[in-house]
Amino acid sequence: MPDHPTSPASWAADLRARLASLRLSPAREAEIIEELSQHLDARYEELIATGVAHDEARRLALEELREPDTLAHSMRPLRQANVPPPITPGMRRRFAFADLWQDVRYAARVLRKQPGFTAAAVITLALGIGANTAIFSLINATLLQRLPVANRDRLVYVWRGNVGGVFPYPLYASLRDNNRVFDGFAVWGGITASLNADNVTDLVQGVIVTGNFFETLGVRPERGRLLSREDEATVGGHPVAVISHGLWQTRFAAQPDIIGHDILLNGHSFTIVGVTPPEFRGPQVGGQPGLYVPMMMQAIMRPPRAAYSGEMNPDLLNNKTNSWLFGVARLKPGITPEQARADLIPIEATYATTVGPGARATGVAVLPVDEGNPAQRQRMRMVALLLGGVVSAVLLIACANIANMLLARATARRRELAVRLALGASAGRLFRQLLTESVLLSLVGGLLGLGLAWAMARAVAAAPPPRGALPLAVEFAIDGRVLMFSFALSVLTGIIFGAIPARKATRPSMVPGLKDAAFDSAEQGRRVSLQKTLVVVEVALSMLLLIPAGLFVRSLQAARAIDPGVDVDRIVSAPLSINLLRYTSAQGREFYRQIIERAQRVPGVDAASVARVPILNGTSRMLGFLVEGQPGPEADFVFSEGGAITRSRNQINANVVSPGFFKTMGIPLTSGRDFGDQDSASSPRVVVINDATAKMHFGNANPLGARVSFRGQRGPWHEIVGVVGDSKYATLGEEGARMVFMPVAQNHETGMTLYVHTSIPPEAVVGSLRREIQALEPNLPVPDIATMSDTVATSLFAARLGAWLIALFGGLALLLAAIGVYGVLSFSIARRTREMGIRFALGAKVSQIFLLVIRDGMVLVGIGVTIGMTAGFIAAQSLASFLYGVSTSDLATFVVSTLVLLTVALVACMIPARRATGVDPIVALRYE
């Protein structure tokens, strides 16, 4: 055929065109073309032989193919049509993406074929990645949250003095009017208001804001309008309120006609004019004000003191010394916070000169809003660091576990890989293939983990922590950032646990791999030692987690065992915020007298009294303290919300209580007397101190009759008439808090809390108590009637949550490490079947083999425990601030954690050890 123009190649183009639409595999297409070309050749030769011309012969031969689409049409139903291209991992290809897709499909197939391994790995990863995602969503909800407002980069917080410092209103007005750096400067103050709507009264948290507040922040209303400069015209003339989306949803059941609705705030009528959008949760991250009212309504909405009573001057707008406002401003374009600060400082200094002789300039601080509240962030950062560290360790253990499984599996696949290498696949390409398998595994695990985190977020939303139990209002949500995190973490995890096994697997010595001999001792030995290292790491990490878990549990136990010094099981408290209703002192006194009387009449109540500082809810009141005749500085009035003070001799924790308080609380009278009717506004001033105070200031001397002052040597002086037993003041964790009690009759206060002692289970009186309070004053919000045991539980909530979380993760780490020990030991037993057989054949006893295996495993565990304990000891030192009543080097914790880990590890070793003793020498020696 050399001399005529037709050859198989010349049919190929025609055939290929007709086959193209079928998407045959390239190899199959070539085969068909070859076969059909031969047919056409033969036909062509036949025609030439009968004397047909070349061109005509070619045309006639091609007619065999009929219409251009006939061939494709008849072939389409065949299975060989539409086949995806074959996967030949390791083959060099030109397109990285095609390779990737190939790798993914191949990986999916490999993983599907080993459901057991895949399930174990995916579950392990889901737990690890899920825990990390959950903690990240917590961090996301706190540290990473940003104010959802327009052009945030130009917004700054403005503080007086240092960060966190507040302004009096006149200073704000001066800064606002004289600065040259702000496009807008607004202030807000926190308020607690009694809200009466539809005849139900409760307490809401809110803010009182200047008219330019929403404009400065750049917030738009969801409904109605927000407050504006028009709400700033006349003092006291703007009874309007904006509510948050949350309050609208929960308190007003998302009523569509909410705009124009009239409500009573602190007993005064207000009209709701707007609703803020759901994403706006107030001027500071972490707060969730439900209510916004105009600054001009300050006299009604924001009393000057927590213990405000009606005859005081309510006005703060002209008060130059009472500081209570937080500032937020929008910088003019191009102005830096430093320039703003430089502009404000002289204005503040000028203001200081107008206040009075004692006033000094304090300066101002200007900070971008994204930096938020540094003190709060610092605490959150510590929690995040702790929890993040714990869950990272869990994930690392999970990675080590899976790396181990992959190493073991590499043995099974060494033949497959050796063949591919022999056929010319590059090691790099195979490495990528194996890594794709790991990443695919961890992506599936990550998806499941995301599900776990989501379930957790749902659980938290369904059972929110009690109010006041956590420092921040946290809203968990799986948002885009959490999704991104969990995706990135999954990929990273896959690379971490996949890289070493993949590298090991793609560099086998090829010859033993190709031979059927499964074991090459040297290579196997290296692999096993790597596995053993991983087990040591796992054990060390889980030990590292068990120690804090133990410490937290011990700390919780210690906290539970603390005696609060009051009769926890028989007390009910009810806050009475009459300060919000602007009662005068006389009205207030009468109210308290009546409420105590009514409470005492409630069946089941055997004592009732009121106290200014609620017990064990974290708030405190500190006073300067001086015993007559003893040295002391000229200490003045100090007020704080930061918990009880326990150290300073010159300060003391104070409370103002009504007669009967000690009996109500179950605090024993050590000597002297309780307050009584004889202690009135006109009689000599008296106080009661507790044992701790008596001990510190009087030693063994009798304190009764001595006099003390809260304002230094200038007095007034108060006579000590009684000493009572010690009890907890602000928190359970405090120790030896020194206290002084003053009678309410001589120190009128509003905003007291009612306490009753019951002879029956305290829950039973809650309803009647609420009815009595509301009957006496319908505008008084009483949302938080609580039993003392609930209060104690709330104060322990954060500790309990922490202990639970860390114990949970510690347990998870332990479980994963145990699986790791078990896996590696099982694998090494399988490898040593022959050795065991020989040992048995040579007369080894069952117990000897058993111990041999146990020893192998426990040596690894022992090394891990030692490393983990050392690291744990060092790490535990940083936990001191989280722990109650337990030392960071608590012996019991270290001993118990070690024992728990050793026991679990021993069990994990025993299963393979038992298997080893079951080896039949005959079978074992025939093995391979």
């Binding site: 059909l36 036909r43 193919l65 219409e67 061939l71």
Partner: protein, 117 residues
């Protein structure tokens, strides 16, 4: 069998009997595609003719069903060719189809009165 409409034969008979024809052709020994088409044409005295576009898809289908086995065979000095042989399954199918066909032809003869020449 004089006045048979070629088109009708093509369409009707080939549709029902093509498989039977091919299985019969390769029954004695393995054959390649061109040989199969030539044999069909010759043994039917030119009445039946399979084109490339219908023959090969049919062969591939029978192969996919496991009735035929296709195999590349190289002979010294020649291009390799694909030979199709009957598998055990193919042999059973052929026997069954022959019986069916025979019963069908008998029935047709009885009904139409067309006698075998």
């Amino acid at each position: 069998m004089t006045a048979i409409d070629r088109r009708m034969l093509d369409r009707e008979l080939k549709k029902g009997s093509a498989e039977l024809i091919i299985l019969s052709i390769v029954e004695p020994r393995p054959r390649h595609g061109y040989e199969i088409s030539k044999l069909i044409e010759a043994q039917s005295s030119g009445q039946l003719k399979f084109h490339v576009a219908s023959l090969y898809p049919l062969l591939y289908r029978l192969e996919e069903r496991g009735w035929l086995h296709g195999k590349w065979v190289e002979k010294p000095g020649q291009r390799r060719r694909r030979f199709y042989s009957l598998t055990a399954e193919g042999r059973r199918v052929l026997a069954r189809q022959r019986d069916t066909w025979k019963a069908f032809v008998d029935a047709m003869r009885l009904i139409t009165g067309v006698d075998h020449a």
